[in-house]
């Protein structure tokens, strides 16, 4: 357990949440003792997009409340979820009282046989966030950071100095407690987000940041909360343009939309996690032809890929806010082929760093 400060009274947010937890516990007791009904929990339901088949995307209330869900002991499937929620809530209450932090994984290992898998803890944490109307970090629950950052950047986190500028081509872990990041200093011209660590390392090897005066971030696949919050913080504080480079496949596209619109799982917190300003730098389906990629680099879409792409095409936010993204996705589906960013290294290892990315940014070939 990571101890941040013993003085919880200095954290009004903690006291506020502790009050809510007590209120919730009281309501459970009242259910049983006064109302003589089984304990139940009412959770607001959120979503960050809809897939309205009628095409009424412009009236979609995404990011708003979308009804509520009542977890009651009367339903067996809810009983287990309620059990997990209460067990995690008990841990959270202790964390807040003692102002300590635990990772999601730590929490899982407190009752591994009961939780059975990490997803059970993750859902319980999300349920608690919705119940207490807060973000995960407010619960003093952190995820083991998996994001990396490099480039022309310096900041303090809980008094500790992160100076990426001393070695702009070296990756640093993105801090877990993003809310404690302060004094951000930067001399970069833009932020580049890359989907994969391999691409991040390629750019590091090519000293991309030094040559291009930028910041490069990777979430190593689907980005975690810290990475998204950190990116959002940089974009807000530094007012820099942000570009995203993902594989030309449905999963790359989904990762791209996670950065821009948030994920469905954490829709309740999407407004704090999304980066609407991010632009899609590549790679586009049309890049294969434009950059004369050899056929051997193109792989047919699997049925699962096609299904995923078709489902994503229905998302209301693509219709409403990113029609160009949507049409590129449509082209990918139509051509039935996918390829990875690394395909550009076929002609030259440093093609990505030397030509593809700089020329795209310089010429404004992003959407």
């Amino acid at each position: 357990m990571e101890e941040r400060s013993r003085d919880s009274s200095s954290k009004p947010q903690n006291l506020h949440l502790l009050q809510r937890i007590k209120g919730f516990t009281r309501s459970l007791l009242e259910d049983v003792c006064i109302r003589h009904c089984l304990p139940s929990v009412t959770l607001d339901r959120y979503r960050n997009y809809c897939s309205d088949p009628t095409g009424n995307w412009y009236c979609c209330n995404s990011n708003l409340l979308n009804g509520e869900e009542i977890l009651s002991l009367e339903r067996e499937s809810h009983a287990y979820r309620l059990d997990a929620l209460l067990r995690v809530l008990l841990i959270v209450q202790t964390l807040l009282q003692e102002n300590k932090h635990l990772s999601k994984r730590d929490i899982y290992y407190i009752h591994p046989s009961v939780f059975s898998e990490q997803q059970v803890v993750d859902r319980a944490i999300n349920d608690i966030c919705i119940l207490l109307k807060c973000s995960r970090h407010n619960l003093n629950v952190v995820s083991v950071g998996k994001g990396l950052v490099m480039g022309w950047l310096r900041f303090l986190q809980a008094g500790r100095k992160f100076d990426c500028m001393r070695s702009p081509s070296t990756g640093h872990p993105i801090p877990m407690h993003v809310e404690e990041v302060e004094d951000v200093m930067c001399v970069a011209k833009y932020i580049l987000v890359v989907e994969k660590e391999t691409v991040f390392q390629r750019l590091a090897n090519d000293k991309f940041c030094e040559k291009n005066h930028c910041i490069v971030i990777t979430g190593r696949g689907y980005p975690d909360v810290s990475t998204r919050r950190f990116l959002r913080l940089l974009v807000e504080k530094l007012c820099l343009p942000a570009y995203c480079l993902v594989d030309c496949d449905p999963y790359g596209f989904d990762i791209l939309t996670t950065y821009r619109f948030g994920s469905m799982n954490m829709a309740f917190d999407a407004k704090l996690l999304r980066v609407p300003e991010i632009r899609w730098l590549g790679v586009f389906p049309s890049d294969a032809k434009k950059y004369h990629l050899p056929d051997c680099c193109l792989v047919p879409l699997t049925p699962k890929d096609k299904n995923k792409a078709e489902t994503m095409l229905q998302r209301c936010y693509l219709h409403r806010e990113a029609p160009q993204w949507r049409s590129e996705l449509g082209i990918m589906l139509q051509r039935g082929m996918k390829f990875e960013i690394e395909a550009f290294s076929v002609s030259s290892f440093s093609f990505l760093s030397d030509e593809y990315i700089p020329s795209k940014i310089q010429d404004g070939v992003y959407i």
Partner: protein, 445 residues
């Protein structure tokens, strides 16, 4: 094994006798006499069923529907000798009813009467001859009579006599006298008689109706009894139909000491008089009565008789209560803890007691689960494990096949006893096993 038509006939005749006794409204005797002359091979058996009830109008016999082919395939000769007289008759009437006759109107022959010489009495005697070993028949009819005695029918005493004819003389063995019904107060409702009879039956070791075992259930207090009475509304064509059901449940420890019980209660089924072909209406009525009896049990013994759904939900109560207790006890807010103690009906000082808050919350949650389980919305989920062997349905399908004699508007009398062994799916009661019995019957009120 399918019951022979001779035995079916015997069941019907006994039911008709009981009905005549009930109509007379006087204390009556019903005698079943078996005679077996030794000189015949294969052995012949003369069965006589006599009662001191009201005389017969013969309508119930005319309703009997035995075809000549059914009779010829059986060991029964197809002939009934009937003697009957009503209280107001001056003579005793004798008849011969032959089912070998294919034309129904020619079946009944009137025989010379016997004068009563001014004496006032009523009664009937019906006899027939069957080609069957007396020993086998005695075993069967003894069980039948014992099961009839479970009903504790008022005003009727049933006796079973066996007359062995051994060459020079004959010997009469008085095998059984079912008189429990007449010993009870006449005012005792039928459902109470049924309950008392089933309790006796259970105490006497399930199907081994003639044995008592002190190991299994030594006292009635251990038995949990539910009663249900269902009536159908009278219509223009029918009389009021009633069904009564009694359910007895008891929990016995799983222990080798009770091997006797297990030996006797392996999903046994006893069906006594199926006097008529049961209609859907009867079945529904019986189901309704069983349901009401289950309700009664659940209301009286809350918690013992939970649905499988409630049992599953109850399994979460300990974890949930522990977590809620944890939220209260680990809070650093003393006022909050005091508030919770007050909600739980505890004193503030109790809050620190080992496990007190936890067990208090658990009890309350379990209490709500049990209360919810007897609310109407769970009607369809009544202790489904009781019926998981589908024995009721099975029994009904047997009824469909039962070609018992149709007796029109005569007594509709059907008795079924179920002993359903069922394991409770509650992990907390591994050490016990639930034994249950259901007894039901339907009749015209």
């Amino acid at each position: 094994m399918a019951i022979s038509s001779a035995r079916k006939l015997c069941q019907n005749l006994i039911a008709l006798s009981i009905q005549r006794c009930r109509i007379s409204n006087n204390l009556c005797r019903l005698s079943i006499v078996l005679k077996s002359p030794t000189e015949f091979n294969p052995p012949l058996l003369r069965v006589t069923i006599s009662d001191t009830g009201a005389g017969s109008s013969l309508a119930e016999f005319k309703c009997m529907d035995w075809t000549s082919s059914q009779v010829s395939a059986e060991t029964w000769d197809g002939v009934l000798s009937i003697t009957t007289t009503s209280i107001c008759d001056n003579e005793i009437h004798h008849y011969c009813l032959s089912f070998k006759e294919t034309i129904a109107t020619r079946r009944l022959s009137r025989l010379p009467t016997t004068p009563k010489n001014g004496r006032k009495f009523s009664g009937s005697e019906v006899s027939f001859t069957v080609q069957e070993s007396i020993d086998d028949f005695v075993v069967w009819i003894t069980q039948l009579c014992q099961k009839i005695s479970i009903l504790k029918i008022p005003i009727v005493a049933v006796e079973l006599l066996v007359e062995q004819m051994n060459g020079p003389g004959s010997r009469c063995d008085h095998l059984l006298l079912a008189k429990d019904g007449i010993l009870l107060p006449l005012s005792m409702p039928s459902i109470e008689r049924l309950a008392s009879g089933l309790e006796d039956y259970v105490l006497k070791h399930g199907n081994a109706v003639d044995k008592e075992c002190q190991d299994c259930f030594s006292s009635r207090e251990q038995l949990k009894v539910g009663r249900g009475v269902a009536c159908s509304g009278p219509s223009v064509k029918t009389t009021v139909q009633m069904a009564e059901a009694v359910i007895v449940i008891t929990e016995v420890p799983e222990s080798s000491k009770f091997s006797c019980l297990r030996a006797c209660s392996k999903m046994t089924e006893v069906l006594t008089p199926q006097m008529h072909k049961r209609t859907q209406c009867d079945r529904n009525l019986v189901k309704k009565a069983v349901k009401i009896a289950l309700d009664d049990l659940k209301a009286k013994y809350t918690g013992l008789f939970l649905s499988s759904h409630a049992l599953k939900i109850r399994g979460y109560a300990p974890d949930l209560s522990r977590a809620i207790a944890g939220l209260i006890l680990s809070s650093n807010d003393k006022d909050f803890q005091g508030e919770c103690a007050s909600l739980l009906g505890l004193q503030p000082e109790d809050i620190r007691g080992e496990g007190i808050v936890d067990s208090c919350i658990r009890e309350k949650i379990i209490g709500v689960i049990e209360m919810n389980d007897i609310k109407p919305k769970y009607v369809k989920e009544y202790a489904p494990h009781l019926f998981e062997d589908n024995s009721i349905q099975k029994e009904e399908s047997q009824d469909e096949e039962d070609e018992g004699a149709k007796v029109g508007n005569c007594l509709k009398h059907a008795v079924g006893i179920k002993n359903l062994s069922c394991g409770k799916k509650d992990p907390s009661v591994h050490s016990t096993r639930t034994e249950s019995w259901i007894l039901f019957w339907a009749f015209s009120a």
